[in-house]
């Protein structure tokens, strides 16, 4: 390193020496990132399953439900967090309300589309075999809607991993915290490494879910879009 004036020091994009001594910083951030994402996707699933089924069963609910969550989805995440902060404070509650609000739209829409694409002939056959409505839903319709659901889970997961970085502004952030650190301290290493890790995390989660889908739903050849 040159011993010239402090101002001449050029910050490399990745300072490997610093990085090697600060690994725990990154593992903690990744862990928080994954926790926030998992809660958002699981919470989204828990809400979207009953809502999606209700929207499919009662036609009158379909457009109001999709419309409401569509409006929520349009609100930029930073604005949504800011709207919630005066009521729910800085922290995980605010972050998860926002993130779950977004995943619900993706998951519910895919569930509704999946249920709607079950061929009428299949439904007739199930009725003819004596399935009651609940059994038909559980054993015929939902399994056939699973590929569309999986596509939704993939989109929701990848989207959430990107959005979690923004929760750095309300005191969380996972890898977003390190992006923020890079911004505030004008220090490239945490910024570049955290951004790269966030992209890698999203792509790895997507690939893992594709693998999981192959195993869990072998009858699907669907791709997410």
């Amino acid at each position: 390193m040159p011993s010239s004036a402090f101002l001449d020091y050029v910050d490399p994009w990745v300072n490997w020496t610093w990085l090697s001594t600060h690994v725990p910083l990154f593992t903690d951030a990744v862990l928080q990132h994954l926790t926030l994402t998992a809660i958002a996707v699981a919470g989204g699933l828990a809400l979207s399953l009953p809502l999606g089924i209700a929207a499919h069963r009662w036609r009158a609910l379909r457009n109001p439900l999709l419309g409401f969550f569509g409006v929520v989805y349009t609100i930029p995440s930073l604005a949504l967090f800011a709207l919630l902060v005066p009521y729910t404070g800085l922290g995980i509650v605010t972050a998860e309300i926002g993130l779950i609000g977004y995943t619900v739209l993706i998951l519910m829409r895919n569930l509704v589309v999946g249920l709607e694409s079950v061929p009428p002939a299949v439904l007739d056959a199930a009725d003819g075999m004596g399935y009651r409505p609940l059994a038909r839903l559980l054993f015929v319709e939902l399994p056939l809607a699973l590929p569309a659901m999986f596509a939704g889970v993939r989109i929701a997961t990848v989207t959430t991993i990107g959005l979690v970085t923004i929760t750095a502004l309300i005191g969380l952030g996972g890898l977003g915290q390190l992006i923020n650190k890079g911004l505030i301290e004008n220090f490239h290493t945490p910024l570049v490494v955290a951004t790269t890790l966030s992209i890698a995390l999203a792509l790895m989660a997507d690939l893992t879910l594709i693998g999981l889908q192959r195993v869990a739903v072998p009858w699907s050849r669907d791709t997410a879009s």
Binding site: T74, L78, F81, T195, I199, S225
Partner: protein, 235 residues
Amino acid sequence: MTHLANVVQWFANPAHWSGPDGIPQRLVEHVQISAESVAIGALIALPIGIALGHYGRFGNLAINISNVGRALPSFGLLVIAFQVFGLGNLPILVALVALAIPPMVTNSYVGLREVDPDVREAARGMGYRELTQLLRVELPLAVPLVMAGIRTSAVQVVATATLAALIAGGGFGRYVIDGFAQQDYTKLFAGAVLVAALAMATELSLSGLERLLVPRGIRLLQAPSAGRATTFKTA
């Protein structure tokens, strides 16, 4: 509900409606940088998506670019662009253009792909040259999805432009970021209302534009608003 009363008062204060930190000036900044980014993004993305869709090549690339785009953390992208290009509008523009491209490529690709092969054949049979066929037959039929792509990009660009305030940009994000920094929850909330309203207005006005641009023949055939080929949210 003193909090909401404070917010109403904030909006009623004439000081917030003039000067460099006034709502009109911030609106102009926000809309300007967003419009420039979407326009540059469209100039890059639409020819690519339309060409790929017309020739039916590299379909996986056209679809997967949205998957990759979704994985990009907008916050990290903006800050990296800031470190590369320094202060000013350039880093914001670069990051926003990068995020605007994927949905437009995927949607225009899918729009062109979904043109009925019989219609293509008929156009060829009627003696249309390739370029005329593309411009006069395929593109008008693909307008709903091409426009859905532009709409998706525009809403995301408006949302992400809010984050630009973190790297010293203007726009409504200024109120939100400054509100956080000063722990001024009234300003924060007012800024968030403005950002949300602008995103909503973008969505609605582009849906309106889409309805005007769709040829009358297709309008009669289809349900009013076309679905998007991709779900995309970056900020």
